[in-house]
Symmetry: C2
Subunit: 345 residues, 2 copies
């Protein structure tokens, strides 16, 4: 019924458990175990389908070969895709993934960290919530392998892997300007998190570089807590109030989705009456008619790098900090067009 252990192999092979352990861990040479004995053990192990008990091994070695993945919401397109690749990549190194969603809620994040510690995960991939600084600091000081994703904490130097938010937003703004749009609005959340700051900074920088007007009133912030209906309502009001608006940038994909709805509800045509561009790709953007132009995150690269950085930390005790910033890609679809009229003016 229960699994076979190293002892069973030892008994059948007529050697000690120690010898079996050495052979099975590839230390036969090093530990001077004879070829004959080695082969016999290997054969037996294969025959009996021996699987080392990870608990026992972990207890002794202090390693569980498990990493904790803390995301904002595993049901979200971006995080779900990252989770998938992270699992695949971790698997290549023999690691398994325990996951959890914070909902961007500090208390939930703390709970997850506690449980993961409790479970002795070897390393962490964390999407920090606001005010998680203290916990991250503790983790860092206890030298736990860790890498942040999607955002980082400016006060604490840590490993992280992120998209280049500044560049992504910069490119979007520049793209709109090159197409001839002039009255451009920026819709964001009230969140003060670093990735949001960098997006607006990038956007502003592009506007400035092109000497385009970008007054405060062209920036609209929607509270994170707003329901879909409230958000759509607020965006509609904003658009109505902004006379002459010809393009609008949404700082996250869910805002972009609300934006689509708002513009439709106003009876305006996306791409004709009003250009739309959003940060983050989304199924909907791809399949919508017209397609929605967006700034896409390199999901595969992000996940790949997350695991890579974590494995570096796990395998050597290098104290070097890895901060990977990956380029965002502008995906051109039909929601932004060349404004020949304006250019001709």
């Amino acid at each position: 019924m229960k699994g076979i252990s190293i002892k069973d192999i030892a008994k059948q092979a007529g050697v000690s458990p120690t010898t079996v352990s050495f052979v099975l861990n590839g230390k036969a040479r090093e530990k001077r175990i004879s070829e004959q004995v080695s082969k016999k053990i290997l054969k037996l192990a294969a025959k009996l389908k021996y699987k080392p008990n990870q608990l026992a091994r972990g207890l002794r070695t202090g390693k569980t070969k498990t990493i904790g993945l803390i995301v904002e919401d595993i049901a979200n397109h971006f995080f779900a895709n990252v989770a998938k690749i992270v699992e695949e990549e971790a698997d290549k190194f023999g690691y398994k993934v325990l996951y959890g969603s914070t909902e961007d809620n500090l208390t939930k994040a703390r709970g997850l960290l506690e449980v993961l510690e409790y479970r002795q995960v070897d390393g962490y991939i964390i999407t920090p919530t606001p005010n998680l600084d203290k916990e991250i600091e503790i983790l860092k000081n206890s030298r736990k392998p860790m890498v942040l994703m999607d955002r980082y904490l400016p006060q604490i130097p840590t490993n992280y892997v992120m998209v280049n938010n500044f560049q992504g937003a910069y490119d979007a703004a520049e793209y709109l300007l090159n197409l001839g749009y002039r009255k451009i609005a920026y819709v964001s959340t009230t969140s003060e998190q670093i990735q949001m700051k960098e997006r607006i900074n990038g956007f502003t920088a592009a506007m400035k570089a092109h000497r385009a007007a970008f007054p405060r009133k062209m920036i609209k912030k929607i509270p994170f807590s707003a329901t879909k209906e409230e958000a759509v309502e607020q965006i509609m009001e904003f658009i109505k109030g902004a006379s002459g608006l010809d393009a609008i940038f949404f700082a996250t994909n869910y805002l972009g989705v609300y934006g689509i709805e708002s513009i439709k509800d106003l009876g305006l045509k996306i791409g004709e009456d009003l250009a739309l561009i959003s940060f983050d790709d989304h199924d909907l953007f791809r399949l919508h008619t017209p397609g929605i132009t967006c700034v896409a995150q390199p999901i595969h690269d992000i996940a790949h790098n997350l695991v890579q950085v974590l494995m570096n930390e796990l395998n050597q005790q290098q104290n070097q900090i890895n901060q990977v910033v990956l380029p965002a890609t502008l995906i051109r679809r039909e929601s932004c067009r060349k404004r020949s009229k304006v250019l001709a003016e």
Copy 2:
């Protein structure tokens, strides 16, 4: 640096580790530990922030408080959402979740099962791939707590939690007929899996019950391996070839998505020229204009029941089999309308 153990508490409290263990496991009464000692230990544990080492505990008890979740694709909307709720529900019982995606690939599924066994998970939630029968049988015979999702293996009586595919498809067909549609097509995959069979059976049953014509040529199967472009192309050809078609049912959400594209590419208007209804909800269906009518799975209920059934198995050795079939819900949107013209004929 390393965590504090039961021994540390014992030492500080001046008692044996055994006593500490009893108290911390709530067996103080049962094991006749005095109030004083109990309190002292509890206080110390709290003060030292003692966290039992799950590895050691697991090694001793044979329980890891971990469940394995095998889905088809964690990045898929349906599975990602199930994964989220499963995590939340499992957490309530003190369980953590290890996940993996099969891509509906037998070899990958086998690999996942092996790794999860290796990791001594206490129970399994499995989305079986085709031909996984043998492995499921083995798991069942070894009395591992297990529950299948999304589909089941008709040859092997096991626990499962599923949506009522028959009823969902039946309702969809009936709805279309009631709206006045008559020439209705069914687009599915070539997959022979049970959930697909039940959908077409339900659909066919409704057509028969209403004495509606439903010839073979109104059924189109798209190979699972087809790329998006190939699938769209095939669907377009099919629609062009089916003269007088007035409604079309897609048996999965990704087919529905392809369907939207196909219909658009043909220059037809969804809901006006051709009604569309799909199995499974999708962000896109909700946000599309017109909204796409669909048969939605009760994701929350499914996940909740999965965990519930698994916990039953884990906590008692009842041999009773739990097979939960949950109702699908028809979500009416604008892609199907009342066909007054036809009704007036």
